[in-house]
C-alpha cells in the first residue's frame, strides 16, 4: 500500500487502527473457505461508525477497493481480500446499543455475534430467531451480508425477515439509514437489496433487529430410516399434512458417523436420521407433534427418539450443528457445499451426488435442511494425496447440479468468490446485467468487495467450467493451502 494512503488511514483511525505488519495481515487472508488466500494491502480496525465512514472516504478518495469482514466464518470466500485493497474489520463494533423491549427490537453494532443478541435479551423472554450453526461466532453484520438462515428458517424465515433497519456506509462514504422506525417505508426497498448483497453495496454499521418471544412449547424428535428416500417421503407427508415444523434436518450415514466420533450426541448408525422440531403454542404443538410421530411410524422409522427434556434436545442439536466440523474427524480435509433443490427432488439429488462422488472416487457426507431443500454436501478429500482439485471440481459440479434440478447455487452461504463463475448457470446474461445495474447504482467505482457475487472475465476466464487456477495463483501471488 502506498505510504501516503497508509498515512491517510492512520490519520483517521489512529496508528492502532491500521495493521501494516505482514505477519499480522496474514491473519485476515481468508475466511471459512480456507483454500483461497490473498494477503490484503492493509487491515483497518475502526472503533465505531464514524471511523468506518472516515475509512471508506479515504478509500473513495484514492480508489482503494475494500472488503468488510465480521468473524471471518463465511464459507463462500466473501471476505477474501483484494491484494491491492484493504480489509475493513468490524470486530471492534460490537456494542448492543439499545434494547426496546416494548416494541421487541434491538439496535446492535455489526460485530455483535448472533448468539450474543439472544443472550442480551433472554432475560426478557425474547430471542433473535435466525440461527446459523456458527451462531456462537458469526456476527450479525455477516448475517446481514449473507441473508443467513439456519435450521429454524423453515418457520421463521431469514435475516431479511428479522431486520427492520440498517445504517449503511455507502461506497462513496455517505451514511444512509435504510428501513426506518416504522414497517412502512417509501421509495425502493434498499434495505431488502442490501441484505444478502454480500458486502458489495456498502458496509453495514448498525442493525435494528426484530426480537421474538420464546415459543411456549418446543418438541423435538429424531427418527431413523433405512434409506434417505424413505426419510424424504416422510418429510413430504409431514408437509402434506399441513404442518410447518420449526425445523426439519437430515443427516446421512457418513455424517452421523462423523458426528458420533466427534461429540457423541446419541445418534445411532443408520442410513438417514431425521430431526423434526415443532414449536409454538402448547396446544398446537401437542396436536401436530402427535401427527408427526404417527407419520414417521407409518413410513417405517426403525427407531424414534423423542427428547424428554432440554438436555436431550440440546444434545440432538449439538450433534447436528457440529456436523461440519465433525467430518474433520473422519477425513483429513473437506469442502462444505451449499445448494438448494426443490424439496421434492431431494432424494433424487442425493442419489446423483452419490454417483458423482463415486465417479470422482471421493466420499460425500450429507447434512441438509430437509424442509426447504437446502443441502450441505461435505466433500471429503485428502490434500496430501493431491485430491484437492478433484474435490473442488466435484463441489462445483454439485452446486451446478442443483441449478439443473430447478434449484439454486446457494441457500445460505452466499456466492462470494467461490461461485461467482457459476452464476451464468443459473441466470441469463440479461439477468446478470440487471444485477450489475443495481450494483453500479450503489457503487459506480466498483470499490465495495469487488470480484464477489458477479462473474468477471478476469476471474472466470471466457466460460465457467472445470477448475482453472485463479489468475493470482497462476501468477504466484496467492497460493493454495
Amino acid at each position: 500500500m502506498r505510504a501516503d494512503v497508509t498515512r491517510d488511514f492512520e490519520a483517521v483511525l489512529g496508528p492502532d487502527g491500521v495493521i501494516t505488519d505482514p505477519t499480522q495481515l496474514r491473519a485476515y487472508e481468508c475466511d471459512g473457505l480456507t483454500g483461497y488466500r490473498v494477503v490484503p494491502g492493509l487491515v483497518l480496525l475502526p472503533r465505531g461508525k464514524d471511523e468506518v465512514v472516515a475509512a471508506v472516504r479515504v478509500c473513495a478518495r484514492h480508489g482503494i477497493p475494500f472488503v468488510a469482514r465480521g468473524a471471518g466464518t463465511g464459507l463462500s470466500g466473501g471476505a477474501l481480500p483484494c491484494a491491492d485493497g484493504v480489509v475493513i474489520s468490524l470486530q471492534r463494533l460490537r456494542r448492543i446499543v439499545h434494547v426496546d423491549v416494548e416494541n421487541r427490537r434491538a439496535v446492535v453494532e455489526p460485530g455483535v455475534t448472533n448468539l450474543d443478541i439472544t443472550r442480551a435479551v433472554a432475560r426478557h423472554n425474547l430471542y433473535y430467531a435466525p440461527d446459523p450453526s456458527s451462531q456462537q461466532v458469526c456476527t450479525i453484520g455477516g448475517n446481514v451480508a449473507e441473508n443467513s438462515g439456519g435450521a429454524h428458517c423453515l418457520k421463521y424465515g431469514f435475516t431479511v425477515h428479522h431486520v427492520l433497519a440498517a445504517t449503511v456506509v455507502l461506497p462513496d462514504g455517505t451514511l444512509a439509514e435504510l428501513g426506518g422506525t416504522s414497517a412502512q417505508n417509501e421509495g425502493y426497498d434498499l434495505l431488502g437489496v442490501v441484505i444478502g448483497s454480500e458486502g458489495t453495496l456498502g458496509i453495514v454499521v448498525e442493525v435494528v433487529v426484530n426480537l421474538l418471544p420464546k415459543p411456549e412449547s418446543v418438541r423435538t424428535l429424531v427418527a431413523d430410516f433405512d434409506s434417505v428416500d424413505r426419510a424424504c417421503r416422510t418429510v413430504s407427508a409431514i408437509v402434506a399434512a399441513g404442518i410447518v415444523p420449526a425445523a426439519i434436518e437430515m443427516m446421512d450415514a457418513l455424517a452421523i458417523e462423523a458426528v458420533e466420533v466427534a461429540v457423541s450426541a446419541g445418534y445411532r448408525p443408520t442410513a438417514a436420521a431425521l430431526i423434526v422440531e415443532l414449536d409454538g403454542p402448547r396446544a398446537e404443538v401437542e396436536t401436530q407433534f402427535a401427527q408427526v410421530v404417527q407419520i414417521c411410524e407409518a413410513h417405517g422409522t426403525s427407531a424414534l427418539r423423542v427428547a424428554t427434556d432440554d438436555a436431550e434436545r440440546a444434545a440432538i442439536w449439538k450433534g447436528r450443528k457440529a456436523a461440519f466440523a465433525a467430518v474433520g474427524r473422519i477425513s483429513p480435509d473437506y469442502l462444505v457445499q451449499d445448494g438448494v433443490v426443490p424439496r421434492t427432488r431431494l432424494a433424487e439429488t442425493l442419489a446423483r451426488i452419490a454417483e458423482l462422488g463415486a465417479a470422482a472416487s471421493l466420499r460425500v457426507a450429507n447434512v441438509f435442511h430437509a424442509g426447504d431443500g437446502n443441502l450441505h454436501p461435505l466433500v471429503l478429500y485428502n490434500e496430501a494425496r493431491g485430491e484437492l482439485e478433484r474435490a473442488e471440481e466435484l463441489s462445483t459440479r454439485i452446486a451446478e447440479l442443483c441449478v439443473e434440478l430447478g434449484g439454486s447455487l446457494s441457500g445460505e452461504h452466499g456466492i462470494g468468490s467461490d461461485k461467482a463463475c457459476s452464476m451464468p448457470r443459473q441466470f441469463g446474461p440479461d439477468d446478470i446485467a440487471a444485477m450489475r445495474r443495481l450494483r453500479t447504482a450503489f457503487d459506480p467505482d466498483g470499490l465495495s468487495n469487488p470480484g464477489k457475487v458477479l462473474p468477471t472475465p478476469r476471474l472466470c476466464g471466457e466460460r465457467p467450467g472445470p477448475y482453472r487456477p485463479h489468475p493470482l495463483e497462476a501468477a504466484g501471488v496467492i497460493e493454495r493451502i
Binding site: H161, E186, G192, G407, A434, T440
Partner: protein, 368 residues
Amino acid sequence: MLREHTTGPILVRGQGTAPDWGGRAEPPDVVVETNDLNGVLRHDPEDMTVAVRAGTRLDTLQEALAEYGQRISVDPARAVRGASIGGLVATADAGPLRQAFGSLRELVIGVAFVLADGTSVRSGGQVIKNVAGYDLSKLLHGSLGTLGILTEIVLRVHPLPKATTTIAVSCSAAEAVRAGRALVGAAIEPAALEWSDGTLYVRVEGTPAGTDDRARRVLDLVEAGSRLSESEARAAWDRMAAVALADPGDTVVRLGTLPSATAWLVDLVARLAERHGVDTTLTCSVGTGIHNARLRQAAPGRHAALLEDLRKGLAAGNGTAVVIRPDGLEADFPTRGQPPAGINVMRAIKKRFDPGGRLGTGRFAPWF
C-alpha cells in the same frame, strides 16, 4: 414492442384497483394492460410454491390454492375488488395477516419483469431458500411500476389453517397495544391484531384443538373479550377492510409508526379530524404499527389541510404516510413529504433501470 414503437411515458395497469396509489402518474403515451397476462404457470403443492403470470387476480389464485388446502398468506383489502398480484406487489399492499406473515415482500421468491427498453429479466427462482445474487424482487416490491413491468411472480404458499376464530375486545387504542403485546408475549401467536373504534379484534388460526385452547387463553388474558361467531367475525373483518377500500371521493392514507406509538397516532388523528371537520376512521395493526386512515368526502381543501398537519405530526414522531387513494386531494397536492434516506441511491437505480424515465413517470414526484 416497447423498445421499437414508443418513446413517451409508460403506465402499467392491472385491474385498476389502485390507480393513484402513492402518487398520480403523468398521463401516459402507452398503457400496458395486464388483464390477459394471467394464469397459474406452475403449482408445486409439495414444494409449497406457485408461479403465476403477474396479471392474475389474487382472489382467483386463492380459490385455486384452497382446493389443495393452501393459500398465499396475505389479505390486502382490495383483493375483494379483484386486485392483481403484480399490482399488489408493485404497491406493497398487505392486510391484517401481516402480523403473522409480513407482506408480499416476505412471500415473493422470484420475479420476471421487463425493463423500459424491452429487456427481460429474471430474479430469484422457484425455491424458497435462495441467496444467489441480488434479490431484485425486493427492489420491485413497492416500486409502483417505475423500474419494470412485472410479468411473472413466484410465491411461497402456506397451508390453509384448519380452524380460525376471532375474539373481540372492547378497549381503547392504548389498551389494545398493551393487550396485543401481552398476547404476543404469551406466545399465543395471533394471526392478526386490529383495533378500530373502541374494539380490538384478535384472530387466531391453527388446528381446531389448538385454536380453541388459544382462544380461551386470549379471553383469560384480556378483559371484556368475547368470541365471535363465524358470521360476526366475517362482518367485523369486512368492516375494517372497508376502511382501506373506501369509496369514490374518499382519501385514504396508510400510516406507519412504532407499534407503541399507536395510541399517540389515534389521538393525533382524532384531534386533526375535529380541527378540520373531516369524518375520519382509523384501523390500527397494533402489533406491526401499520394503520389506515379513511377521510370521508368533505369540502374542498379540508383533506389537504388535515394531511399537511398530519405529516408535520408524523415527522416529529418518526412515522410515515403514503396516500393510497387521493380522491379528496387536488391534483397538484404533493403526496410525498421529505425524501427518505438513500434517495440518491434510489435516483441512481431509477436512472440505470429506466434511463429515459418512462415507467410510471410522476409516481415518486418530486423525488424523481
